[in-house]
Symmetry: none
Subunit: 218 residues, 4 copies
């Protein structure tokens, strides 16, 4: 069996090398410019070899996307784990900050994740891979939802539907990151990403605490 094992190990290793090369190319030159030749040259394999490991260029991108989502999720899970006994608000802030960290340390992964949303590119990968990406991409939202549920249960947050609230929070976080990604908007808002991000969290948390009921009732 050891031969088979070594083979499998080598195969995985080769696959990783190709993905590494692709990541570098795509992150450096954008998601559409690099050619398979570029990737092959960077990975120091032949172009044909790439097709032994990945069915298409789109599939490589899908796998990079999965990597990015995994990275984001592990960041968020770690952040959550570190705040187990804290308040829901603290936990939510921790999640948000983990996202912000991810955005700042891996802007290209973030861009890839955002690009996936629109990209016709879902059309050209096998459905099961597409589904996998989709599942992954929802896990962050799930973490937020669970945290809000906890705050709902503890009475910290006065929300009717935790999932709905999670959607709003998640939307706001994504929105603010996309918004501030453009230098010109940082300039117009006279604010840097850090500040703007925290302001958004403050606003949202304030809303969660206050509830979304009519003010007259509050």
């Amino acid at each position: 069996m050891s031969t088979a094992e070594r083979r499998a190990r080598e195969k995985a290793q080769r696959r990783r090398e190709i993905l590494d090369a692709a990541r570098k190319e795509f992150f450096e030159h954008g998601f559409s410019r690099p050619t398979m030749d570029d990737v092959a040259a960077r990975a120091e394999v032949s172009k044909g070899t790439i097709y032994l490991y990945f069915a298409s260029k789109e599939e490589i991108l899908a796998h990079l996307l999965l990597e990015g989502l995994d990275l984001l999720l592990s960041h968020m899970e770690a952040a959550l784990a570190a705040t187990l006994s804290a308040t829901a608000e603290a936990a939510l802030r921790a999640l948000a900050n983990a996202y912000l960290d991810f955005f700042q340390s891996h802007p290209s992964y973030f861009r890839l994740i955002m690009a996936f949303d629109r990209g016709r590119f879902g059309e050209s990968i096998p459905p099961e891979l597409f589904q996998q990406v989709l599942d992954e991409s929802l896990r962050g939202l799930t973490l937020v939802a669970r945290t809000i549920e906890a705050g709902q249960a503890s009475g910290e947050f006065r929300v009717d539907d935790a999932w709905q609230a999670a959607g709003s929070v998640w939307a706001a976080l994504n929105g603010v990151l996309v918004l501030m990604a453009h230098p010109l908007r940082q300039q117009m808002l006279k604010s840097d990403l850090q500040t703007m991000f925290q302001a958004t969290m403050d606003l949202v948390l304030s809303g969660l605490r206050a509830g979304t009921v009519d003010p007259a009732d509050g």
Copy 2:
């Protein structure tokens, strides 16, 4: 002079026809797939003719983008105009609903606007056109900021920095539209766009009213 006038009219008309054809192609098949041949065929002109009116494919897209932004902005301005004497909250809701309407009636324009953010495509259009797009794209945010300033002045909203708050609100709106654009996320959140959008506005408005001060102070 009537000859010159007619000529100018016809020229503008032809330009419009090309833009119409391009819009149909791009909205039906995505922003990168259609070729200039496709556009020419749809416009029933020769390919060369297109280049008499637009310098490149990118420029066509940029003009479509401007169209979209104009449409959005006029929606928002009209909505705002209709609520002149109302509360800031009502005005903000009106703006948001105008955005929602726009998203629902012109999803492709919305996708184009979102795509622009990422787009390497700003690189290949004349700088002045690029600037025009940029200017337009910031006007929506400006409307939101002004409305929040009004609410701040009237005491409705307890916010420190109206522009920052506007950034948060605008981010949340964009975020929720992007989020709900995917049917699968509608399903997971057990919520339709309408509901989710209103919930997000409720949350955000609640936050604006409550202010982002520490809850202990509230």
Copy 3:
């Protein structure tokens, strides 16, 4: 008749303007790069107008070529006229120097004349125009031949066939101009055009005087 005359005058004038514009374009940017649009813009007429005066782009070039040949020939004729009573050698040197002057003051015309030799471009102009160019292009050779005939008659030159000798002389002149047109060859020959040109004339004249008979016989 004065109306018709004015018309004809204006027409000739317009034609000249187009040729002027074309000359500038072609001399500045090479003989193939400029487009008819460029020429039209420079002449401040519409593209269609050009085709009222010239049947094609090649024809314009052919007419510029004729201009160049005329210019060269009038230089040479003037030079010859100024040396009427001189020796044949002096006359030949005068002709050669006129060519050299032409080359130095109108390098682009020279390039055009040389380009004509190879250019497939004779194929796309009307035969009669082609013939005209050809006729013109032989007049320089004729002047040389007549001068050599004079020297032959006077006993200055010991040549058997004046036309043949003229061919050799003309060939040498063209050759040395083409040769020295390249800076790198000036460098390799450690010589400038002036010097090299005179050296070639010296060599050729020496040959004409000595005759081409076998040295043993001389």
Copy 4:
């Protein structure tokens, strides 16, 4: 290693086939008319394949030019080698005749060599290839110069500067070939290429023997 060897051999072979096809196309239809499609069709390969072997159309032409220069140079060197112990005059005649042979057996190569002088086309090939062409193109002149130096040393030729004289000779040879390339000029000069070429050599040699000193001194 035999696999690698065979591969290399096949690759070289394929390259040669493409060059063969290109040569045929360009020699038959001129240096600018044929398209890459034409070349590909003639070589019976796909258009893409050509770009695996040559970076551009210009590069193909540059390589054909190098071929031509090599051919010319080997002709000349062989001719020179065959006249080692002869007089400088005989050697010079041998060189000239080799050039004439080359012109007659490979007129298209000659046209290509002449075309290079003008060619804007040096602009679009890699500098090192351009340099290679330039270097090659000067070797013929070098052979002539060395031969004249020998004649100068032996006292056969009374010239001051052998390189300058070589320039004149080379210029005359090129000039006469270009001149006689046109059938119409053969007709006007009532002379065929052979005769005219020899007459030019006679004239030039006569000049070399006589020196370019003033006749009164001779």
